[in-house]
């Protein structure tokens, strides 16, 4: 394949999928109640835009707030666990245990405690994104090369000097890589919480739309979620490249 072809291949595929979807629905005569055509979804999006946007902002808001708290907690826990072998061995099984609980199952409990609405969505977004950050940061800090550790120890470096000069910078590529995963997960978390227990947000809007068989609006909701998800992912990819380009340029 020519280099230029190769560069545009992903774009061509994406457009191709939509074109296929459109044609398939048209030619096979698929009902709009089952699977609306992309053009119809786009039309529905613009038609309902004034109604959709407040929900979209709500979802974005709960996601970002939950994500921010998740990052703070995840980073602190990761540093704490990664910088001590004892803490690493002690806390790791518990973390794995917590992470293997489906977070959807926690939402009813959060609703029980905080009532339906914004708070459970923020908390779900937070809880769901903590774990990948903790695992990545602690791994980055805990896997400093033994030779480097010996060099630092022979210089009589203190624990915090070791962490500040070696452990933390070394874990940054892991941290930023986990942010990309974490922001996507946060998004999933807040939409789930909205769907289960909220009167605001895209998740809630889609639930109501589907119960009134407004299928194009359901798909329009899906579309805005996809757009926001991809945008957030892209932003954090750029941040990653800016912050820890040295790790990507290696080799």
């Amino acid at each position: 394949m020519k280099p230029t072809m190769r560069k545009f291949a992903p774009t061509i595929l994406i457009i191709g999928v939509f074109v296929f979807w459109e044609l398939f629905c048209l030619l096979a005569g698929i009902s709009e109640l089952v699977l609306p055509r992309p053009t119809r979804i786009l039309a529905a999006f613009f038609e309902y835009a004034p109604a959709i946007m407040p929900h979209a902002w709500q979802t974005l808001y709960t996601t970002l707030v939950g994500f921010s708290f998740g990052v703070m907690i995840g980073l602190s826990l990761g540093v704490l666990i990664g910088s001590s072998k004892l803490a690493y061995d002690t806390a790791y099984p518990l973390l794995v245990g917590i992470s293997s609980i489906p977070k959807v199952a926690v939402v009813p409990i959060l609703v029980l405690w905080f009532g339906a609405g914004t708070v459970p969505a923020i908390l779900t977004a937070m809880i769901i994104c903590i774990f990948p950050i903790v695992v990545n940061v602690s791994t980055g800090i805990a896997t400093v090369e033994p030779e480097l550790e010996d060099v630092m120890r022979s210089l009589k470096a203190k624990r915090w000097e070791m962490l500040w000069n070696v452990g933390l910078p070394r874990s940054m590529p892991y941290f930023f890589a986990s942010l990309k995963v974490a922001i996507t997960l946060s998004f999933v978390g807040s939409v789930i919480a909205e769907t289960v227990a909220s009167n605001k947000g895209v998740g809630n809007m889609m639930l109501i739309a589907s119960s009134s068989f407004n299928v194009p609006l359901v798909f329009a909701g899906l579309m805005i979620l996809a757009v926001m998800g991809i945008t957030l992912y892209a932003i954090f990819s750029v941040v990653e490249r800016r912050m820890v380009g040295w790790a990507l340029r290696k080799q």
Binding site: E147, V151, L155, K156, V244, W246, K250
Partner: protein, 271 residues
Amino acid sequence: MSMARFVELENVGVTFGQGPEQTEALQPTSLTVERGDFLAFVGPSGCGKSTILKLVSELLRPTTGNIFFGGRELGAKPVRVGMAFQSASLLPWMSVRDNVMLPLKIVPPFKSGFRSKKNGEYRDRADALLAQVGLEDFADKSPWQLSGGMMQRANLCRALIHDPDILLLDEPFGALDQFTREELWQTLQDLWIDRKSTVMLVTHDLREAAYLANRICVMSPRPGRIIDDRQVSFARPRPIDLTFDPDFVTLVQDLRGLIVHAPNVKKVDAT
């Protein structure tokens, strides 16, 4: 400080583990290193060569015996140590110069002035050292832009920047090809002649030991002990052609014979 007894090991032994899984890494060993000496340890792998370096750098505590430094017990007064390993382990997020300056950020008395001097005095100090090993044009580069030999040169600079009392090298050139290795030998010799540092070098390359060291300690297989301790008196600076000199070849063959035929006097009792 007197020439003699710069570093002194007195019946120092190291045992790892406890109970039935106990292994003796180093049999009680006594050794005196003079200030400004260049001492090499050779021996089969796992013979406790590196253990001695770890003892002197306080990375490891001896199970038995005492270590003295400048007449005082180790730990009484902070000993400034420079260390380099086979893996250069430069920090990839820093320039080569910043990597070399890292010890100045950590070791007193340099660390107190780091903020104010890192763009002046310390920077010049690092650049001078880098120039000495031929890396003057690479100070601003990232470590990953360097070849293996260049990384080891930078690694040597990092080990020397804080004027260590003693330089400890653990197979620093083990991963390099023959030509690069011989270049690095000359660089290290030049640095040593220039600075008169006390050096303890661990290597499994007998030619390396014979070329670089003033004194060679041959160690037995585990549990290690020193089975031969000899002076090497070739004139300095030693040219690389020295390695083809009959006396040099004889020395290397002697060392090889000692290691191959080393009697494993004290077997570890596994039960």
